[in-house]
Amino acid sequence: MNQPEDKSRRSFIGAAAVGVAGLGTIALAPGLHLVEVSQANPTSAPSQGASSKVRWGMLIDTTKCATGCDVCVKACATENGINETLKDARQGSQWIRKIDLKDPKADHMHSLPMMCQHCAEPPCVDVCPTGASFKRADGIVLVDRHTCIGCRYCMMACPYKARSFVHQPLTEQNPEVPRGLGCVESCTFCVHRVDKGMKPACVESCPEGALTFGDLNDKNSEIAQRIARESSTQVRADLKLNLGVRYQGI
């Protein structure tokens, strides 16, 4: 297995790409960018792409997750340009949301972030008539908006209510996160960041460090070691969907 080597190479390329991109956008003077120089002759090779050796996952420690805190939700909205307001909030997109749980028999409350669980056997992918819902080789479940026809069958099929339908035209997208009217969308694990070797915005933003992101297949990763050592659960484990997101403390 040359996985560690593979990984370090990827993160090096990622870092190089970030460096080049950073250099490219340094403003020399208002309206004049170095970008022109670097654009025509990209110096870095394209990234390797998603590998089936990797399975991205997230471990959420709900004992650290504070009721009323929504830093991760805000970080997600900022990162992914979810900034529109709708008259009826039920029509608005929520890629990640905070759910408060209360056991009627117990006093204490749980709070946890809920988002696309990036199933290994995703029902949304099964039901999508055009194949727009798909799972990348590294386990990230995405919607290809180029072939999404907006039938919302995936939203009927998702057991986690993780998907949203864009109900109105959008204009203020983040250039790296295209999203638009009439298509279904959901958490991407910040795939544009992950491909550059970074972590999802929610993971980085959490002040309590309750979210751990990593490669479930890499035995040396923190997430894989903790899942092997500590107890964790999958939401609606009865469906046997083999989720990429695991919870602790519920």
């Binding site: 039920r90 408060d100 749980l101 099964d126 194949g131 109900h167 609606r236």
Partner: protein, 404 residues
């Protein structure tokens, strides 16, 4: 010799025909305009949201699609099961099926978030998706029923009508299985995910399809001032009664199996008792109006012989059908997903709450537009082609087909 009275009647009929066609056309145009508006402004102008993702257009569309496959049964009884009496009704049955399926599909297509990408739906195919199968099942239905109609109406093709009729019958069973399976395989929501849904939709289609047929037949006979032979009327009404009862049995089975599983009990309580509009529509709309009263109208010795009582029964069945689908589709979605069994759940995304759904004007117009398409197609169809069932009663009597 035509009398002056006849000529006047013909003229009145002519005017009425154009008026009806115009009305159907106007409703269709209103529906198309609504779809265009929804397409442009987005689904923000509808009552649908991220919890109730399918709304009134889908209720109407699924009604039309299920009834379309069911109405073809009339032809199948003639061609596949050899009941001569129904053979005279086969062309009308096939035409109704095509018109209603086209209308139902039009609604579904126009409600898509990206209706402009119809070509994507046709060229990208996911074999694990029930919707994907339907992309094959629906056009296939058009083709097979089209050929079937050809074999029925063209003397040269007539030798093949049995084969075509058999193919159409098998295909319509597959199609309704597909429609039921759209919901049957959904594990996420408690209302769906049941193996009984596919057969339930087939039985429902028998009842709804025959009801549509009988209403249209009644209107056509009245229009032409012909009366249906009492023996044929009795046979058709009894068949409708059987289908209504069988459909009711399946609906009961569906709810009883749900009640058996403790985890679905809360959902059943919502639909059958506490859910506001949904229990009202279920008990009042489907059970009383759509099942019990039609059964009384059909089987009561006195009432069943009243003029128009059977047509009224069929119309009530159709009202009950819309009520049942509304409860099934909307009621099934407003009920919250049960992600954390036994916990009290709350969130900014309305987890744990019963959602509300109020259809907006564009949605209602789009749904009605579908009915406009079906209505216009049927009105023009029965005028242009020879779809009127003609019963040779003496021949039926002498060959004993009236009794078989």
């Amino acid at each position: 010799m035509r009398t002056e009275q006849d000529i006047r009647n013909t003229r009145e009929h002519e005017t009425l025909f154009y008026a009806l066609t115009m009305l159907g056309g106007l409703v269709t145009v209103a529906g198309l305009a609504a779809a265009l508006y929804m397409e442009h402004a987005g689904h923000v102008v509808t009552g649908m949201n991220n919890q109730v993702v399918w709304g009134l257009p889908h209720v109407f569309a699924i009604f039309l699609i299920v009834a379309a496959s069911g109405v073809l049964n009339v032809a199948s009884i003639g061609s596949v099961f050899g009941k001569v009496m129904y053979k005279a009704r086969a062309p009308l049955s096939g035409m109704l099926a095509l018109a209603m399926l086209a209308a139902g599909l039009a609604i579904i297509m126009l409600d898509l978030g990206r209706a402009d990408r119809l070509i994507v739906a046709m060229t990208h195919f996911n074999p694990t998706s029930v919707f994907g199968w339907n992309v094959i099942l629906y056009p296939g239905f058009f083709a097979i029923v089209g050929i079937y109609l050809w074999t029925l109406m063209d003397r040269q093709m007539n030798p093949y009508y049995k084969a075509a009729g058999f193919a159409a019958f098998i295909w319509r069973l597959l199609l309704t299985t597909g429609t039921g399976s759209i919901f049957g395989f959904l594990v996420a929501r408690q209302a769906y995910n049941s193996a009984v849904l596919a057969p339930m939709f087939i039985i429902l289609s028998f009842a709804w399809g025959l009801a549509v047929f009988m209403v249209v037949q009644w209107i056509m006979f009245s229009w032409n001032e012909v009366s249906l032979n009492p023996a044929i009327r009795t046979r058709m009404k009894n068949l409708l009664g059987t289908f209504i009862a069988a459909a009711f049995y399946f609906v009961m089975i569906y709810h009883l199996t749900n009640l058996y599983f403790a985890k679905q009990a809360a959902f059943e309580h919502f639909i059958l008792v506490s859910g506001g509009i949904f229990p009202i529509l279920f008990w009042g709309g489907y059970v009383i109006l759509g099942t019990l009263i039609p059964l009384i109208l059909i089987y009561h010795p006195g009432l069943s012989q009243q003029k128009g009582s059977i047509c009224l029964a069929a119309e009530l069945v159709l009202i009950g059908a819309i009520c049942l689908l509304y409860v099934f589709i909307i009621g099934g979605q407003v009920f919250p997903l049960d992600m954390f069994p036994g916990m009290i759940v709350s969130s900014s995304f309305y987890d744990g709450l019963i959602d509300s759904y109020i259809p907006s004007t564009p949605e209602i117009l789009l749904g009605l537009g579908g009915f406009g398409i079906a209505f216009t197609a049927i009105t023009v169809g029965v005028r242009v082609f020879k779809f009127m069932p003609e019963d040779d009663v003496t021949a039926l009597d002498s060959t004993g087909h009236m009794l078989d």
